[in-house]
Each structure stands twice: as C-alpha cells, then as structure tokens.
C-alpha cells in the first residue's frame, strides 16, 4: 500500500502543474485586463502601461508563467542573450512580491492592493470549511438515519414518504428557503440573527448562533441523496448471506444492524461524503452572499470579475490539491472499511 501512496503522491505535482498551466493560459489569453478593471472607466493608456509594467504583466507569456511557478527575477537586465537571460531568470535573486509558488508565495492580489493572496484566501477557506463541515455533518447524519429507517421499513408507507420527503428537502433552492426562514425566525420571531458570521476569538465560528440558520439550510442539500443512497445500499446488504449468518449465530438485532448491515451499507456513502469534503474548500457564492458569510465562494466570483489572476490561480490549485488528497484518503479508507480491498 505504501508503494501505491508514494506513486500517487509523485504524480500530484504534475497534475498541479497541468492545472496551473491551463488556468494561467486561459487567464492570459482570455478577454479582459486586471489593470483596466482596477482603474474603471477613467483609464489613461499611459498609466495602464505603467501599472502593467510594475506588475510584470508586460512580460512574455512564458516568463509570466514560469515566474509564477519558480519566482520572477528581481531585476530585468537589458542586453543579455536569450541563453544568458534564461540562466539569469532561473538563478538570480527573486522579486520580493513574486517569489513563486514553489516557495509558497502565491503573489499579491491585483484587486486588494498590497495584500498577499495567501492572507486573502486561507481565512476565507477556513470559514467555508467550518460552515460546510457542520452542514455536511448534519445532512449526512440525518440522511443516513432516514435511509436506514426507510430500508428497514421497506414496503410500508413509511418508506416512500421518507425518500420523497428527503428529495423534496434537497430540491429546495437555498434562495427560497433562506428568505422564508429569515422572515419567520428573524423578522417575525426575532429568534436568530438573519445573517452574518462571528469568528470569535479563536477563529471558530461554529459556536456562534449565527451559524445555525445557514448550517441548517445547507444541510438540506445532502439529505435527499444520502437518504436514497443509504436506503439502496442497505437493501443490498440486508439479504446477504453474512447477515443471515450473523442472525443465525444468535446475534442481537441491534448488533446485526450496526456491525453487519450498517458497516457494509456505509461504503458508498463514504465515497460520496469524501468527495463532498473536497468541495468544502470551494464554498458557495449564492449561499455565502445570502447568509453574509465571509467564505471563499464570494471571493472566487469577485476575483473572476476583477480578473484577479493570482487569487484565481491560487484557488484553482487549492481545489485541485484538495480533490487529489481526498481521493487518496478515500482509497486508503476503503481498505480499512472493507478488508477485501487492497491497494497496489
């Protein structure tokens, strides 16, 4: 298994380089210009050129991309041959604001002047991850319980009611539920704050009442899918030989349901939830805007409109990396849940 993990990890940088190259190319050759957006309508071409020069945006494509990855040189000396320049580019002192991704420097935002991309992103990702985990956790627990209950009551009226109820809740768009709940719980009953985020002292927002409404509403999304998945995978294992064997051994019904049915039924859920974990770092533009959550989703959309390429690049890399890691963790996790699976 170790060899498998190492092989996967060795591939990771290549995947990330491919992702960064594609994103960079699209940004570079796509329409729009970050300096023009920054300046708005009043933009003197001379000033635009000066600002572009200062940011290294006037350099050729390869220089900008390689500079992004390994860092741009501090000086751009004139009068060097191409070979000399490549050498200079690779080995001279780095530009203080463009040290390169390999040194952990994602550069400075084009929109938020003078701010490091990493400072901008990580606090917001942290908020999105907190909210997303709570919502996902609540959704998965409720979904699994509903699915198990539906499967064990297969054929009775209870079963379709649960499944369609779960699907109904999942299909409710957040922009309908949020105003409804906010109207009821905030405007009418004044029970909960309608929106906002309170990061408290330690940067933990999960203990603030402000998280209740968004977490509750966002948990509706996973419920329907998890309920159905849990129901069908439970039905698959419920008639397996080993379940019958366990019962015939005289095991209590509780032990059968948890250790034999539940554990095996949960495998597909594991994949789905695992992949959702990776998407936690993406946040969500609409929900974050509606709930007033300082998460990564809003920043992502705003960065796109501002052509804030360093932020867009960093986010793409972050999301790609988290998918790679989560996928690996899922594969490893399988071997623990199901001893028949081996990695090699």
């Amino acid at each position: 298994m170790l060899a498998y993990i190492i092989r996967r990890l060795v591939w990771t940088p290549f995947v990330l380089i491919a992702v960064s190259f594609i994103t960079f190319t699209v940004g570079h050759y796509g329409p729009g210009d970050p300096v023009q957006v920054l300046m708005g309508q009043k933009n003197d071409p001379e000033i635009v050129d000066r600002v572009r020069r200062e940011r290294g945006l006037d350099r050729p494509f390869w220089e900008q991309y390689v500079g992004y990855v390994i860092g741009a040189p501090k000086e751009q000396p004139a009068g060097m041959s191409a070979v000399e320049y490549v050498f200079h580019f690779a080995f001279s002192e780095r530009h203080p604001d463009r040290q390169g991704v390999i040194r952990g420097d994602f550069g400075e935002s084009y929109k938020f002047l003078g701010q490091k991309v990493s400072d901008l992103i990580f606090s917001r990702v942290w908020v999105s991850v907190q909210l997303g985990s709570v919502a996902l956790g609540v959704g998965v627990i409720i979904g699994m319980m509903l699915g198990l209950a539906a499967a064990l009551n297969q054929g009775r009226w209870f079963d379709p009611v649960i499944v369609s109820g779960g699907l109904f809740l999942s299909s409710l768009p957040v922009f309908i539920v949020q105003p409804l709940l906010a109207f009821l719980l905030s405007r009418q009953l004044h029970l909960l704050p309608s929106s906002g985020w309170d990061s408290g002292v330690l940067g933990l927002g999960i203990f603030s009442p402000k998280i209740i409404m968004p977490a509750l509403i966002l948990s509706l999304g996973p419920i329907g899918g998890i309920t159905r998945l849990m129901r069908s995978s439970t039905l698959e294992v419920v008639n397996q030989d080993y379940v019958r064997t366990a019962r015939s051994k005289g095991l209590g019904e509780r032990a059968v349901r948890i250790n034999h049915i539940g554990r095996n039924a949960v495998l597909p859920i594991f994949t789905v939830v695992g992949l959702s974990l990776a998407s936690l770092v993406e946040g969500g533009f609409i929900s974050e805007t509606l709930f007033g959550i300082p998460g990564i989703g809003r920043l992502a959309v705003e960065s796109f409109f501002a052509r804030d390429y360093p932020v867009i690049m960093a986010m793409t890399l972050l999301v790609a990396a988290s998918y790679i890691i989560v996928n690996l963790l899922i594969d490893i996790g399988y071997t623990f849940l199901d001893p028949r699976i081996t990695l090699g």
Binding site: Q36, P45, G114, S123, F291
Partner: protein, 530 residues
C-alpha cells in the same frame, strides 16, 4: 471613483452592499454609541492608490487632506485652515492648522504633505490616480516618469506653510485636492511594511480599531481630532453581505438600502417604515453613448433621431418605477453648475423619422449593435425598452450585445497613440462624479483630446469653450461656459442622456443627522445615536 455598469448598480440596490447604516448605541456605549452599517472589504486603504467607492468610504474617515467637502459639497478648510491663490492663479499657499496630529499623536507639518505628494507621484508607489489628481502640479509628471527626485511644484515654506505651484491656472484644482490621492500619510507608518494600511496612522476623524477581513471593520472615534471630534464612539461595518432589509427589520443594522422590489411597500405611507425613508440624489448620469467614428453615428442627424425616438419619462416611470430622474443634459442635479433649464432633445417620433430621412444614410442604415456591460443572463429592462422604442419609432432593429465588465472596459477604450479604436457602435453606461465640479463631466467626457471621451465626440466650438473654462477663475462664469458646452453637446446628440440616479435608504429613527450624501464625503462625524 469606480464607474459601475447599470447592472452592477441594480445588483447593489438588490443585494444592498456599500451603503451607510447604523445600530443602536450598544457595544462600547458612551455619548455617541455605535453605528453599525454595511460595508465591503476595501481593495486598499492607501490614499495614493485608492480609486474605488468601496475603499473611499473608509479612506475619507481615516485620513484627511488640505481641503475637504462639507455636506453641501462646498470646498472647506481641513488640515489647511486657510489658503491664498496668486494673481495668475498658478500658485496656492496653504496655511496648515496648528496642533493637528496624526492618530499616533505626532503633529502634521508641511513636510508630511511634501512627503505624501512625492510618495503618491513616485513610480514605485504605482499609483494610478496621481496623474489625474496631482498631474496639474508642476513637476509631478517628471516625478511619475522617474525623471525627477522631487516634485518641484510642492514647496515647504515653513513647518505650517505649504506652497503648491501649478503648470497652468486650474480652477478646479481645489476640487481635485479633496480627492484622497492628495491626503497626508505618515512616513514612518508607510515605511513600516507592505501591510501598513492594516494599521493606518491617519489624521481623520476616525481611527482603525479592528479589521477582520471579510467580516467586519471597526472604526473608533479620534478624540484628538483637530476639529470638532465625532459624536459617535464607533462605526461598525459588516462586510459579509446578507439580506439588508431583513437585517434592518431584525434590528441588526440601522440603515438599509431599499431595492426596487421593496420600494412600493416602503413608499406606502401607511407602512410604519415609511417614516424612516430617506431619499438622496447621486451625482451621476446614465446615458446611451455613440461612437462617432463608425457609421451610422458619424452623422449628427442619426444621433439626434435616436435621441428623439426615446421616451425617457416613460422608461423611468414604467421600468424604473420613478426611482430615478429622467436626464436632459450631461451634468447631474446637485452638481455645482447644474443647469435645470438645459434643453433636451425631447421625445418626438415624427421629428426622429424626419431627421433619419434627412441623414446621409436615409433608409439604408448599416446593422447596429447596442452593447451593454452586463454579466446577467437576461437583458436589463431599460435596454430592452430603448431598443423597442427605436424599433417602434424609427423602424430600426438594433441587436443587443451584453459584454462582461472587464472585457467591456478594454474594448470601449480608445488609445489614439496606438490607433486603438472603440470597438462598439452604441453603448449604455453611467458616469459618476469624482469631485464636485462640472469639469469632471463635460471636459473629461467630451473634450476631443480627453482620453475618457470614448465616443470620440469632437466639436471645435465645444473644445474652445472647455479650454476657456479651464483657465477661468470666476465660478459663475466658468459654470456658464460648461453649460454652454453642455447645450451644444446635447444638440449634437453626443449622448442620449437617460436618467440621474438616486439612493433610497431606511434609517432608524434613533440615528440623528444621518444624511445620504450624493458623493462619498467624510460624514460619520456629524452623526449621533440616541
């Protein structure tokens, strides 16, 4: 400040960011209490780099300059207590206020201003506003191009006297000095590191107490402010968004913008919220612009026909629910020099048809594409109404093209040096004031040499009037020149002026002296909470 497309403004109205608001005197308590309002993360708090309205809200409270604007948008003394203008209009001598201090307690001297101006004009600062706002000062251009170490036009006479020399008499100079590019910064603070603006040591009526990115900004009263200190103890900006109206009605904020969906409910006098309703003008003009370098809009008759074919009153009434004011000219109401009796090209379908027939194109108009900056999946109803009226009243089918803002900005820009042309034929846009002077509209948008004249409008008579206004010292006379130029532009069909904006807000009754200013000015110092 940043000019938004109509769609963005609509989004602002609906989502409700970037507005003033206030909460009860909870929190730290005290005389003035805390004002809780909506905000957005400022892209920068560096006065020399700032050019957007979001940042301006904070910058004008944290920092200050020689002169400022009062609530009537008049230019009044700020860190300079008085000034003298030389007879030729080229030299300004400012007497600084004694005892004025940075937040740290350090006294502000003329040297601090010299440092601040030179820093703003230093190419390393990478300011994109210093050309526009400081460019009239002698030596700024040389400094920006890296040809000079100092700015020759800024002279320290003594600790409390600053002399500024201009390259030519510019009577809008003081108006430009109200813009943050010329605000004073503390050298020590600036040199403390790249993130110095996280702890700005300004001179304004408020100090930065806390900035949790994406979450909130807390400004605290500067008790040793050089003029009457603010009444409020704190201003809290909620940065994370949310539904403004719901938060207002749940007492989470005390001021909320009112969007187009809530306006009827609020305007109903039987609604208790109606008593908390505040309306104000904004200094902007929304318009249809013509690119006069491409057919068919190179013919003034076509432009006039397109003007006469649009029924603005109807659009404003039906589509915009009378939220805005139909525009006749270029200069918005509330702006010094606004001419209420400017004669617009009024709605007259017969005249429109007649003019079109008389034009050199007659009935053979080339295909026309109307471009609007928008990322929406649907077309803005105002645009649809205009296109429909052109179709009905002129019999011309105009294609609508929506272009995302970043792309739009690049494509609309002309650059005569690189012979780059405006890619669009006809387009819809808005322009809002950066400083209260009609020069900011008429000269910048219509002088044939101006780089912001996207439509390439050119009329020697207009240029002549604008050049004359640049060196005219008497305000009355200057405004008359701008008004005269404005009337010619309107008659030429330079634009189809559409409407002027207004802001609609709800303000909790406990907020005293809240005023929706038509521009971003330092205003929290006037407000108190009961």
């Amino acid at each position: 400040m940043k000019r938004f497309g109509w769609a963005l403004i609509a989004l602002l109205l609906v989502v409700g960011t970037a507005c003033g608001a206030a909460t009860p005197g909870g929190g730290a308590g005290g005389e003035g209490g805390t004002l809780t309002i909506f905000g957005d993360d400022p892209p920068t708090l560096d006065p020399a780099l700032m050019s957007d309205t979001t940042s301006a809200v904070y910058v004008v409270e944290l920092f200050s300059g020689l002169v400022t604007l009062n609530r009537q948008l008049q230019i009044v003394p700020d860190l300079a207590e008085s000034w003298q203008i030389s007879a030729d209009g080229k030299s300004y001598t400012f007497k600084l206020r004694k005892g004025a201090m940075f937040h740290s307690g350090k006294e502000v001297t003329a040297n601090d201003f010299k440092y601040s101006f030179e820093r703003a004009a230093d190419p390393k600062t990478n300011s994109h506003t210093s050309d526009t706002y400081l460019g009239d000062i002698k030596g700024v251009k040389e400094k920006l191009e890296g040809k000079a170490k100092e700015v020759s036009g800024v002279k320290v006479v003594d600790d409390s006297t600053l002399q500024i020399d201009l390259d030519a008499p510019r009577f809008y100079f003081l108006a430009k000095m109200t813009y943050p590019t010329s605000f004073v910064v503390d050298k020590e603070n600036v040199e403390s590191g790249r993130s110095w603006t996280d702890k700005p040591n300004g001179t304004g009526p408020f100090k930065m107490k806390e900035w949790k990115k994406g979450e909130q900004i807390l400004l605290e009263r500067n008790a040793s402010f050089y003029m009457e200190p603010a009444k409020l103890n704190q201003v809290k900006f909620l940065l994370a968004g949310g539904s403004a109206m719901t938060m207002y009605e749940n007492n989470e904020v005390d001021v909320s913008p009112v969007g187009i969906n809530d306006i009827e409910r609020i305007q109903d006098t039987s609604n208790p919220l109606n008593r908390e309703f505040v309306v104000a003008n904004t200094l902007d003009t929304w318009y249809v612009g013509f690119n006069v370098e491409v057919p068919p809009f190179d013919d003034p008759k076509v432009r006039q026909a397109f003007n006469h074919a649009v029924d603005k009153s109807k659009i404003v009434k039906v589509v915009l629910k009378d939220l805005f004011q139909p525009a006749k000219g270029v200069i918005p109401p509330g702006m010094p020099g606004y001419n209420p009796s400017v004669k617009g090209l009024d709605f007259d379908p017969n005249k429109a048809k007649q003019l079109l027939k008389e034009s050199k194109y007659g009935d053979n108009l080339p295909p026309i594409t109307f471009t609007i900056p928008s990322s929406s999946t649907t077309v803005d109803p105002v645009t649809e109404a205009i296109v429909e009226q052109w179709k009905t009243n002129l019999g011309i089918t105009v294609k609508i093209q929506q272009v995302e803002w970043a792309t739009f900005l690049v494509d609309i820009k002309r650059d005569p040096l690189k012979s780059k042309k405006n890619k669009y034929q006809v387009y819809e846009l808005g322009w809002s004031a950066d400083y209260p002077d009609p020069q900011d509209f008429v000269d910048i948008l219509f002088h044939s040499k101006s780089l912001d004249n996207n439509g390439a409008y050119s009329n020697p008579k207009v240029d002549e009037l604008l050049d004359k206004a640049r060196s005219e010292s008497a305000s009355e006379q200057r405004f008359r020149l701008y008004q005269e130029a404005e009337q010619i532009i309107v008659n030429d069909g330079g634009w189809v002026p559409l409407y002027h904006g207004k802001t609609y807000r709800l303000v909790k009754p406990k907020i005293k002296d809240y005023l929706s200013a038509p521009m971003i000015i330092p205003q929290f110092k006037y407000i108190s909470v009961q």
